[in-house]
């Protein structure tokens, strides 16, 4: 059996493992195993590729893998759970970056695809454009989530869409010239730069609340670019794995967007708060009522049911352990405590589940939005810890609000609300929250972890 056949057979084993692994990842019980099955598939694919006849440059390969391992393993192992979303964005970005770089080298090695079949040039250039968009777009997404750049939508207004179109057309124009026989280095560099700027400009105006959807979209794009690279290199493993990610990523993006009642085109066309609607000033001169840790403790200690609504603020403050401790104290006093998990609370779907599970909060205490929304009317105290937009009643009532239509937690239906917050800054979507001005709402300002710890101390003293 020739070596090529062996490689192809190993690739088939790898696809089977990828698909089986992905199927596992869609169910809670099989997910962990599914992930490792897919990883095994990747191992098989890499080994098969290294068997390719005529492989050389081993030290280059070794160097690259060594650097990648030295960077990848510690960053994956040490990243805090709160920083997980931006980590995924970064890992996605480097994948896209790798595709763009490979396409660039292909261009250089073949002197502008001189003598290559047309489909090789087309596929390579497609992967260069998409890979570059994905790399730079992911970096911006990372910057926004890490708060290196502002999470608020940054845009240039009306010119945004025409500019993006011009950038896209410029990238395509460079590609067309190259396919037509152009081989100047400036052409490919121009193509990479134009698509890089496009990637930055597309993600920059998108508000932070939409970021998970955007990362998922970029993820699908990287998959497509990998599939195109596979067509150019005549490599079935790249085609299959890339296309599976491209397709499943698209579906997943759609599911995520649906969970937020947003459409993908609306998200890409420019995010929350872009227009600066009239609702924001209306609440400007209203006052909020402050409370103290001891008052909050008393309020909750004598409640029958308390619902905790966690959000990104809890993640930032690393307050999940303190919250669990407080909840246990309340439960020991006979209060029933539940956690209301909005599908996009935090920066990613499932973000809150991960954090609370880490703090050993029993799984059955976590309630999804549809289940818990019926409970609020029967709840004495809803404690909102660093969640904002997902509790904003304007999403139900105010047609002008940028978040109108987003499903929210009906916190305002509970008998009283305590909001833990650092200050009066608006949420990630950049809109004021009418909940804070509700007469039954009191605010407990300060770092979430410190506030919860204070309340816990007061509970112990009662």
């Amino acid at each position: 059996m020739s070596r090529d056949v062996v490689i192809q057979l190993l690739y088939i084993v790898a696809f089977a493992l990828f698909i089986y692994g992905l199927m596992g990842l869609t169910g809670p019980r099989t997910a962990v195993r599914g992930n490792w099955i897919a990883a095994a598939g990747m191992g098989v694919a890499v080994v098969a590729t290294l068997l390719t006849p005529g492989m050389g440059n081993w030290w280059l390969i070794l160097l690259g893998v060594a650097i990648g391992t030295a960077v990848g393993v510690p960053s994956a192992k040490q990243v805090k759970m709160t920083a997980m979303p931006q980590m995924v964005a970064l890992f996605n970005g480097v994948g896209g970056g790798a595709v763009a770089l490979i396409a660039w080298v292909e261009f250089r090695e073949s002197h502008g695809f001189d003598g290559s079949p047309a489909h090789v040039a087309v596929a390579s250039l497609f992967s260069a454009i998409v890979g570059s968009i994905s790399f730079w777009g992911s970096l911006v997404a990372y910057g926004k989530l890490q708060e290196v750049i502002t999470g608020r939508p940054v845009g240039i207004g009306r010119l945004q869409q025409p500019l993006n179109l011009v950038l896209l057309l410029a990238s395509i124009a460079f590609a067309v010239v190259i396919i037509g026989g152009g081989d100047a280095q400036l052409l490919i560099i121009g193509l990479l730069v134009a698509s890089a700027v496009l990637g930055v400009m597309v993600v920059l105006p998108i508000g932070g609340a939409d970021m998970p959807v955007v990362i998922s979209l970029l993820n699908a794009l990287t998959g497509l670019s990998a599939a195109a690279m596979g067509l150019a290199l005549d490599n079935t493993a790249l085609i299959v794995a890339g296309m599976i990610v491209g397709a499943s990523g698209t579906i997943l993006t759609n599911l995520m967007a649906k969970a937020m009642n947003r459409s993908i085109p609306a998200i890409v066309a420019g995010g929350f708060g872009g227009g600066g609607s009239g609702t924001t000033q209306a609440t400007g001169d209203q006052t909020v009522r402050r409370t103290s840790a001891s008052d909050a403790a008393i309020q909750m200690a004598f409640a029958n049911q308390v619902i905790i609504v966690p959000g990104y603020g809890m993640a930032v403050a690393q307050a999940q352990h303190a919250v669990r401790e407080m909840a246990e104290l309340l439960e020991s006093r006979g209060v029933s405590v539940y956690y209301a998990i909005h599908p996009v609370a935090g920066r990613m779907p499932g973000h809150m589940n991960v954090l609370l599970a880490e703090a050993d909060v029993p799984y059955e205490r976590l309630k999804e939005m549809d289940d818990i929304n019926r409970e609020f009317a029967r709840t004495d105290v809803a404690m909102v810890i660093g969640a904002n937009d997902v509790t904003n009643p304007a999403a139900r009532t105010d047609q002008d609000s940028p978040i109108y239509g987003m499903p929210i937690l009906n916190v305002d239906e509970s008998r009283s609300v305590i909001v833990l917050k650092r200050g009066m800054a608006p949420g990630f979507a950049g809109v004021d929250n009418a909940l804070y001005f509700d007469p039954k709402t009191t605010m407990l300002f300060g770092d979430a972890k410190a506030s919860v710890a204070d309340v816990t101390e007061e509970l112990k003293a009662l």
Binding site: M42, I61, G68, G97, L101, I239
Partner: protein, 106 residues
């Protein structure tokens, strides 16, 4: 060759669509992270282009970066997905297995 590859491409697309039918909200992030790791397959592209001959110094540098990027994508992707998933406990078996899972993470 091209036609065969296009056939594979289209079929793989349908497989991708079919695999993701119904996913609980809580698994959206791990699933995204998992598919993210799978597109680390671009590493193979770097390996092939580097292994089958890259001449210039710049090309070699670019390829080392590309291979490093691909490796980060693969290894980081799978490890992060695993860490995320290990945070979820199966509803039925809270308690007993808790300490074990903690140890596995370390």
């Amino acid at each position: 060759m091209l036609v065969q590859n296009l056939a594979i491409l289209v079929l793989a697309g349908f497989v991708g669509f079919a695999v993701i039918s119904k996913v609980p909200n809580t698994l959206h992030t791990p699933l995204m992270s998992g598919t993210n790791a799978i597109h680390g397959i671009v590493l193979l592209g770097g390996l092939i282009v580097a292994g089958l001959g890259a001449e210039g110094v710049l090309d070699k540098i670019l390829l080392v970066i590309a291979i490093a990027f691909g490796t980060i994508n693969v290894i980081g992707g799978f490890l992060v997905t695993d860490r995320m998933l290990s945070m979820f406990k199966a509803p039925g078996r809270a308690g007993g297995s808790k300490t074990n899972q903690k140890k596995e993470q370390r």
